[in-house]
Symmetry: D2
Subunit: 388 residues, 4 copies
């Protein structure tokens, strides 16, 4: 007889997870929670305990579809459950602070979507809660998933190894086009009270974090300019039209701690660009370029090559020795967007077990928040340069 029943217990302990929010971010986080232990040797196997949401029916259906054992409309009860070890916050930005702080105070690790909060004040309170929790061995992380794109993790390595020399230029843009149509309807992402800001906080936050991560430097000051191209949009909620109260785009210049100069742009009006999160860095010895629409590729110019054979190399970041890639398929069998979240959670679980604070921390999220605020402040003051 050759059959063998698989025990539920692989010898690895489990980690109970609750998630709040089940829209786009909830769906992709769920796929990551389901997949992480299939591909990474994580120290604990996630158990998907409960999904929180507002509407009971929709939340229940989402839980079933996404693989959560239960659903709940009471996030306060959810974060206190004994069988929950970690809370994953996937709600709009205006509720991050409340949920994350409650979870941390209840002794739960927290993974929180970006931007960390809608205001610097909220973010500061979250950092305080995170620091108190950490003293008790409770950890937190903000979900800047682009750090876990293999190509950007490789970019970070190359900069850290000195392959670019002294950095001079950082050039970043995050281009989408889903608002280019002036008739596209109103959404919560266009209301300041819910979203905090527009393109700036939604996608500008990603390139702020990604450039600091890859460069290993912090932004020390900014000069910003923002615009709202379409000031009213059709709204069912408002029964007619509703005012857009956030920026449609933000263009800003920056200086980095080591002297590099940055150029940034975030917009949702770049017709034809779907998710073009682009990054270029030029150093004295080399350069890097990346575009998320071709997320498996990193372009690297090694300035120390002979000029005859020098040029930007298209590295297909799928080799076993590339960050994260060895856990998946053979070279050239490319990864997608969702895998960045699986990597993020693998790193989170590993850090929690090791007792080393996971990155990016809430403090990193707060620093991003301060830069976002400085861009807005500069934009309101004739683009005047503001130190962060």
């Amino acid at each position: 007889m050759t059959e063998k029943a698989i025990s539920n217990d692989s010898g690895r302990p489990e980690l109970g997870v609750a998630m709040v929010g089940h829209a786009f971010m909830g769906a992709v986080h769920s796929q990551a929670w389901r997949s992480v232990a299939r591909f990474f040797d994580v120290p604990r196997t996630p158990r998907m305990v409960v999904l929180g949401g507002r509407d009971p029916e929709r939340t229940a259906r989402a839980a079933e579809r996404m693989g959560w054992a239960e659903s709940s409309t009471d996030w306060r009860a959810l974060v206190e459950r004994d069988d929950v070890d970690l809370v994953d916050v996937c709600t709009p930005g205006d509720t991050h602070a409340e949920i994350a702080i409650a979870a941390l105070e209840a002794g739960k690790h927290v993974l929180c979507e970006k931007p960390l909060a809608n205001t610097v004040d909220e973010a500061e309170r979250m950092v305080e809660a995170a620091e108190r929790a950490r003293e008790r061995g409770v950890y937190s992380m903000v979900a800047f998933n682009y750090r876990r794109v293999p190509a950007l993790a490789l970019a970070r390595q190359l900069v850290a190894e000195g392959r670019l020399g002294e950095l001079r230029h950082v050039r970043a843009a995050y281009l989408q086009d889903w608002l280019a149509d002036a008739e596209a309807p109103m959404t919560w992402r266009l209301r300041k009270e819910q979203a905090g800001s527009g393109a700036l906080g939604d996608i500008g936050a990603h390139i702020i974090d990604a450039t600091q991560f890859v460069s290993g430097q912090t932004i020390t000051g900014v000069s910003g300019l923002t615009e709202t191209f379409v000031r009213q949009r059709p709204s069912d909620a408002a029964g007619g039209t509703e005012n857009v109260t956030v920026d449609d785009c933000a263009v800003f210049s920056a200086r980095f701690s080591s002297g590099a100069v940055g150029s940034f742009e975030a917009t949702r009006y770049a017709t034809g660009r779907k998710n073009a999160m682009r990054l270029e860095i030029n150093g004295s010895k080399g350069s890097l370029a990346f575009d998320f629409e071709s997320m498996n590729e990193l372009w690297f110019h090694d300035g120390e090559e002979a000029p005859e054979t020098g040029g930007f190399r298209r590295i297909v970041v799928t080799e076993p020795t590339h960050p994260y890639a060895g856990a998946w398929w053979p070279p050239g069998h490319v990864l997608g967007y969702e895998h960045t979240f699986t990597h993020e959670i693998a790193d989170l679980l590993t850090a929690i077990e090791a007792g080393t604070p996971p990155e990016p921390s809430f403090a990193d999220g707060l620093h991003v928040q301060r830069i976002l605020a400085a861009v807005e402040q500069s934009a309101e003051n004739g683009s005047k340069y503001i130190e962060v």
Copy 2:
């Protein structure tokens, strides 16, 4: 009280699945079986009943890691289980016929990896078994997953809609480089008795199927040329070196049923190309180009555009209206290799439920096998053109 226990039963009936083989293909099929009902409204939810393999310990570990409830080393018992409705054959090609035929005779649907078999004779017997089974409502499919790359499914649509006009050229290459190093060790893929052929059957089969699928035409004849660059390789099994008994590359010309001319190449010696499965089609009214290393892109030239603004368009195949893409993420949030298998299984489950034979059928697989055999026969006869 807002909590709600999720029932195991979503109202959708389940489909018991057994899989044989747990190497690369087993791992990726498993991810697809786990994910399909999370993203697609499939009529039945797969239940991952049992995984078959040779070594009991390794199979048990694989089953646990990949999410199968049990493991087994007796594939004959496995295909007869009452709780198994479908058998997924992920073993090397020399065992496909035996397992697939037994499963079909036991009344199980079959998904079989490609190439369908190692010989035309085996493939013919599989087709006979598949046709007998189909009369009893038992279905079968060969796993040419590249048909389910969204970009290639879109390519098929554009050709079928007549956007390319009359087809003149089909140009396909499948380029890998994992054998470019003459010291890379021997593997079962280089033994004729296990693999059937080398690059020809392993990756050439994919471009034969993909070009026929996208063009909507069949190949009617071929002229082939093959080569084995490295004739001996280090082998632990052989205790020294072992002879390579398959082709390292195959280059062949073809004619298609409607008169188009084809140029094909399959190799694992294209240094620097990791999984460059490339396809170009030129018609009287337009052209298409694709490279799997950039799998989210389809290049389309509409020859009916004004010359001033004509050019190959880079379509990022992630729009909600693109094939399969609507089930996943927003535009520009790209997919990866594994998703093609999830799409394949979604289509398979839908076809079984609808009682429409899934495609590609075993008969399609047999036709590919006959083309592979004709290429080999031509290569052995001074490249003489052979009708298929």
Copy 3:
């Protein structure tokens, strides 16, 4: 007897041309003067009368090599010669005003390299001279040659035809790397008194002109940030090191007359980028992208295409119906950098003959100069936004 002596006179009148300066710009202008009547039906055939320079020997050798009948070290005499109808000013920026004004006052048409001058004051005096001359039928043009890249001329057409709808974003960068090496020696281009400014005036001027040309809008205000990364360089002239007195890079934001937002960057420190003059424009109905390193390509996204087949098209701008391209080779037989100057001169000769002021005019050059000055002023004042 079938031989036929070719008369020197094709029936077309000649136009006597003098050029001052014989470095890089002189060489490329000369090739254009020699070639223009071979490919374009210009109303007058240029006669290359005399080349002006400082050093008699070097100027004489340059004249011979570049095809000028005589050489001269006295530009004042040169601009007054009766056999000279047009003066082409290819000297460093600090001498533009003096030479161009003298030529205009002598009744000679003037083609002047960019930037028009080193200061707004000089540029204003040149515009006054140009306007006075124009009343007498004497014309002038500033040599922003990138307007005559066929791809950018096509871009202008597409915007003018409304194919992009309302413009929202203009994104431009001019990236070179010849100063990335901190040991590269001092040159006149790094001295404020000769060059006026650094990357800003040298290459930033090109993208200011090009974006205004393609968009059909003017820049109405800017916020700038500049940096000098390497403040001293080896200098033979100085016998040791010499201070760099210009910017190494300039990053600036802008607003355009119709409300579009601009992002600009000019640098000579972008390691690995050789002459990456890049332009992107996003409008409500479409987008354009260009990179001079691939100068024969324009990327156009028509937002009115069906989403299924929408994407950026790579237009190879070599069709007979494309701007300038019909004068040269068949489609796909690409052009190079020098051809932009031939186009420029063809347009200049045509405009002079037609009595329509050639573009870009000295007034256009002055507007660029004012924007350059505003960027510098903003950079000196904490990036404060400055109306132009």
Copy 4:
């Protein structure tokens, strides 16, 4: 007094040139003859003595436009003129042998357009004449201009230096689309008696020469397949329609002297491809890729890089140390199609002066002719492999 009259004599002796033919090839050769001494230190300055053609008026106008001192309709007289040192043959292929042999016998150096002739027999007679002439110090060259694309000259260097190791794959295609429209009119290029063959000889000849040049190997055998898609075309000459008597495309496989396997395709039906002369070579240590539509770029993969940072590099072949590039503009200021002819003539003049036979020789052209004939013969015999 600073003016100085330029003498007609630079100290360099002149070389009298006659050209026969003034269509597309005549125009581009003329530009090269006019330009070569402006940019290259050639040992002799070309004097453009006389242009030969059929129609006296059209030839005279062409001579004037293209810069030839005289015109003639008697090529026999032209090749005997005392003031002519070199004859440049730019006529259709059916007249190459007669003109080139007469010129060689008259003691004139010969540059002859490709393919060398329309038949192997003609080519053999030309080689005999060339060898007899060479004994008298009279040289000849066949104008495979693609050897003088800087990127392909660099490719040749990299292969010769061993950077690719042992070559395994050569993959070449020459794709145009000017016949894709079935209503495009008849031309001499579609008549067998004038053109010899269709796509095969016109553009297939280029990729045969280029692959042998870059690889440093010769083709030793081929298997071919040809097709004529549109068998009749509108013809003014025929007053209605006229039969196409040449191939529309040729697909062929080849073996190279050192064991590499080749895949070739030539067509004028690749809708949307304008002049896509493509080349890829894979060796044991590296790979190269090229597409003429981006003629300033060579893609090089160095297989000896670490896998983490390995990838195809886009070399912009405009550095001063790149072949030919130093004679022109600064890095990134790209070249075009016509420059390849200027390079060709510079090499020719240098070789003549040095007394070293220029390459590619007529013998090289004959070898190409034999391969073309073998492809045709194979295509007529069921694609049977034919040794060359």
